[in-house]
């Protein structure tokens, strides 16, 4: 009897596993119009009494583990680390690990920052990068300050530097 009960438990557990949804990797992004969200408020402080209408923009890759990992690869490929440090810790450019970025931390703000560039050094990547890559970068940048779900962000980086004894000397 005990064995039957144990067997049923195992079967039930296996059935639960079938409920797991495998994340789809979207390898072929849809072509998109080049957009900016210049109307998006960059901070809650506004002059006068009129609060601007909040633009409803959603990053298509929000919570997408594959896109966040791709964003991390792009971040290093496009040398973002030269100014913002290897994992966005900040250097010549501001750190990206903060929830209060200079030009706003909402997805639409970060998108604009990458797309249009910002004064004092941030180049405009619009026209150079396809829109979906900018969204992947946005997802990665937001993951640096814990604004992406934990389930989609890696506990550690894929490319932790490994050094041989000789290299350490």
């Amino acid at each position: 009897m005990k064995h039957v009960a144990a067997g049923l438990c195992v079967c039930a557990a296996l059935l639960l596993v079938t409920g797991c949804k495998r994340e789809q990797r979207q390898l072929r992004a849809e072509p998109a119009e080049r957009a900016t969200f210049a109307a998006a408020p960059e901070s809650p402080i506004v002059p006068g009494g009129k609060v601007p209408v909040k633009v409803e923009v959603r990053n298509p890759y929000e919570g997408d583990a594959y896109a966040i990992a791709e964003g991390e690869k792009l971040f290093s490929s496009y040398n973002c680390g030269t100014c913002h440090a290897a994992h966005g810790g900040g250097g010549m450019g501001p750190p990206l690990t903060s929830k209060n970025l200079t030009y706003g931390s909402e997805p639409e703000n970060i998108f604009d920052t990458i797309q249009k560039g910002r004064p004092k050094g941030m180049p405009a990547w619009g026209g150079r990068l396809p829109e979906y890559q900018i969204w992947q970068l946005v997802a990665y940048v937001r993951s640096l300050s814990g604004q992406e779900p934990m389930s989609a962000t890696p506990g550690r980086s894929d490319d932790i530097e490994y050094k041989t004894k000789a290299q350490l000397k």
């Binding site: 390898l27 072929r28 026209g127 890559q133 530097e161 041989t164």
Partner: protein, 313 residues
């Protein structure tokens, strides 16, 4: 066994290493054939000779002991043959060696010829030209995951690791063009991570390398000039290099002499205008998961861009 060997085969060796590996293969093959024939023959004889009951006499003992000794001796001999073959090309010859550095990427091969002064250093991709009769030392490393370098007509396999340099060498003893392949599963497009080794007589090789050392050809028609403008002002420049222009990025393959190569996308497609157009506009359909994004080029810009790329001999 050349008769069924294609452009990528261990059965058609084109250099001393591959020749020795092939020799070893033949030794193993013939020993295995003889052992198999003898064993199956003995078994058939045992079937036909119907003896009643079991036999335990001195002859049986002697035969069994002799077969046991012979088996061990044959295995030892094969082990020695294998070790001798392996050590025969363990050390890289020291004189007249040409150096090539190879960096594996998901999913293509970056190839450097470091023997020249820095600004004439040759960088190419997925195509390795070597002179006939001159040993070539390979320094192998990887940019991301573990890959394995394997040109079966020329040598055995060697893995490419991130943060580590492995050394191999081989030599081609006749001119020819052979295909190589990544031999360690490395992700979605592992099967489409190929390269070509082209062995040429020294004077032809020198001609090739002299051309590769030059910066990219300047556009000679208004069409090509427009194409260059598209290249330099569009997304291409973020990842690719064309020496002699402002394009200096190293995320994707160096395109300085793109049109001198035989294939694009690491041996996936032959280099011609149609394939190039397909690759530029929608590489993800051809090789899903690779790092080339679909490029939104209006058709009035695409043709000039292709004309420019095709002029980069």
């Amino acid at each position: 066994m050349k008769w069924f060997a294609g452009a990528q085969s261990v059965l058609d060796p084109a250099g001393p290493q591959a020749g020795r590996i092939h020799g070893l293969f033949e030794v193993f093959l013939w020993v295995a054939i003889i052992v198999w024939v003898l064993t199956v023959g003995a078994m058939l004889i045992a079937f036909w000779k119907k003896h009643g009951g079991e036999r335990h006499d001195d002859t049986t003992k002697r035969v069994v002991t002799a077969c046991g000794v012979i088996t061990v001796a044959v295995l030892l001999a094969l082990l020695v043959a294998s070790a001798v073959t392996g050590s025969a090309f363990a050390t890289v010859p020291s004189n007249n060696v040409m150096n090539i550095e190879i960096r594996g990427h998901q999913w293509w091969w970056e190839v450097h010829y470091p023997d020249y002064i820095p600004h004439e250093r040759v960088t190419t991709a997925n195509e390795i030209h070597i002179p006939v009769g001159r040993p070539v030392r390979f320094k192998l490393t990887s940019d991301d995951v573990i890959h394995s370098f394997w040109a079966p007509n020329l040598s055995g396999k060697l893995d490419l690791f991130p943060n580590r340099v492995n050394e191999a060498w081989f030599e081609a003893d006749r001119p020819g063009m052979w295909r190589g392949q990544c031999a360690e599963f490395c992700g979605l497009q592992h099967a489409n991570m190929a390269f070509w080794v082209i062995a040429e007589p020294p004077d032809k090789f020198n001609e090739w390398i002299e051309n590769q050392r030059k910066p990219g050809v300047m556009p000679s028609t208004p069409d090509q000039a427009h194409g260059q403008e598209v290249f330099l002002n569009g997304p291409c420049v973020v990842c690719h290099t064309i020496r002699g222009t402002n394009a200096l990025a190293s995320v994707g393959p160096d395109l300085t002499h793109l049109a001198s190569r035989h294939t694009i996308a690491a041996g996936t497609l032959a280099l011609d205008r149609g394939n190039l157009a397909g690759w530029v506009t929608d590489a993800q359909r051809i090789k899903p998961g690779n790092r080339m994004p679909p490029v939104n080029v209006p058709s009035k810009d695409l043709e000039p861009l292709l004309a420019y790329l095709e002029s980069l001999k």
